[in-house]
Amino acid sequence: MPTIIAAAAVLVIALLPVAAPWLQFVLTLAIAKGFAALGVAVLLRAGLISIGHAMFFAASAYAVAFLARAGVNDLGLLLILSVLGGALVGAVAGSFLVRYRAIFFAMLNLAVSMVFYALCAKLYGVTGGTDGKPVPVPAVFGVVLGEPAFKSVLFYLSLGLMVLVGLAVQRYLNSPLGHALSAVHTNEIRLEYLGIPVWAVLLIAYVVSAALAGLGGAIAGFAIGRVVPDFAFWTASGHLVLIAVLGGIGGVPGAFIGALFLELLHSAAVTVTDSWNLIVGMALIIVIMFMPKGIYGLFARKEATGL
């Protein structure tokens, strides 16, 4: 996607809450889900579908809640530590999950995430059970803000992170590691014969994707003000895959485009009818049938290998 279009799109998103303040929450949540969908999209490059990435989304959100309760009260520190927490969970789970392929990988991710969900729901004394845990408003660089001001800071911080993290992920996908990741999908044998360890390539990708999902979860936790087990439910994982495919896995912007499209469509549909699922479903069918490369594919059609 030409830089100028991307810059204009970011500018429009930045200005939208000025015109319609209610959109701020929707957009923050969309960006949060965009990070998690980007994590899913990273693995999709290797042909691996994870139906369990909501686990990392939830893990980092819970990490924020626990750390805040433990006395950590700085937004930046909470984000960093919670993302590291998500990455750590990703490293542990990924160390054995990346040995599997195709349906086995998808199902094992689902299974592990559902174990995590069950633990979150049942360990009432630790996680608060289905009531979840509150995520208090933290200080920003030592400044204590009211909730409305904090939510504005969170939105613009998320937007800034979307650009910076997006560029970093694009850099990663352009590196030999990123190309090796795509190569896993097409020819794992040749990759081994090049002396490149497929297991390490996939584990790094898995940790990166878990960290991205974790970043999304932390932002969502701050935006909603509470983390509940449903963050990790399998439908949430399926939602992330849907966003990634809908937006298009041909490039980093795809995940965010998909998330913004779906969240805005959902917000608009609920104002029109109670049967909003029907509208969302119809829109999805249209996109999937007529845009095989996702919405991003419309912008990136002429790029042979563009990210």
């Binding site: 352009n174 590196s175 030999p176 795509s182 097409t186 020819n187 014969y193 090049l194 002396g195 490149i196």
Partner: protein, 248 residues
């Protein structure tokens, strides 16, 4: 004679009772261009699979520079300087031709290069030089799946060369390559091998290619070595002419 780079000792391999290697021992020495010929299904590709760690023999050993590599993975053997080009080209079909090359070149670089951009001036120049060598310079920006079969074969060989191997194993390098391109390819390949001091072992069905380029020929038949020697010696063997070359 110099010491062997690669040595296989008393290999036994069988598939469903059919012997692909029955107490076979071979050695390839520094600077050699060893050809293996034999009927289809006689076990030639199996030998390459064993030497590169893709399959394990039931018994016997493979030594690289005197070190046992029988139980090592293809990756570990590749990192010890053994590259392979396949009978059916093994490429990253969704990626550009030059990306296939640069990824191979990146595989030989250090850890830090893994997070640098794939496309660097050095890698691009090296990749283009190798593509030029095999006659694919004009196809550098094509997606590799769109190449005709012969060109895919050439790219597979170029990818193997990009690993800067000491020993190159080629499985039917001229199959799928047009008759017009066959000898120019072999000339270029031989020049590259000599210039880079690469020892090579190649499985081949084209006897003209074998006669012209092999320094030594090994005739493989039903899991055994039927004959071995210089090309002129082997091709004058009546049994070889009848059973392998197909000339009485």
């Amino acid at each position: 004679m110099t010491h062997p780079i690669l040595e296989a000792r008393s290999l036994h391999v069988s598939f469903n009772g059919v012997k692909a290697a029955d107490d076979v021992s071979i050695a390839i020495h520094d600077g050699e261009f060893l050809a293996i010929i034999g009927p289809n299904g006689s076990g030639k590709t199996t030998l390459l699979n064993i030497c590169t760690g893709y399959i394990r023999p039931r018994s016997g050993n493979v030594l690289l520079d005197g070190h046992d590599i029988t139980r090592l993975s293809p990756r570990a053997i590749a990192r010890r300087g053994v590259a392979r080009a396949f009978q059916i080209p093994q490429l990253f079909s969704a990626q550009r031709v030059i990306d296939n090359m640069m990824l191979a070149l990146a595989g030989t670089d250090g850890l830090w290069s893994a997070v640098q951009p794939l496309e660097t001036a050095r890698r691009r120049d090296e990749a283009r030089a190798l593509l030029d060598l095999v006659g694919l310079a004009d196809d550098a920006d094509r997606i590799s799946s769109t190449l005709p079969e012969g060109h895919r074969k050439l790219l597979d060989i170029a990818v193997a060369l990009a690993l800067k191997p000491r020993l190159l194993l080629l499985d039917e390098p001229t199959s799928g390559v047009s008759a017009l391109e066959r000898f120019p390819l072999m000339e270029a390949l031989m020049a590259a091998l000599r210039q880079r001091r690469i020892t090579a072992l190649f499985v081949e069905h084209d006897m003209d290619v074998v006669a012209r380029y092999a320094s030594r020929v090994l005739v493989w038949n039903a899991g055994n070595i039927m004959a071995e020697g210089r090309p002129d010696e082997v091709f004058s063997n009546a049994q070889v002419r009848q059973r392998v070359v197909g000339v009485a």
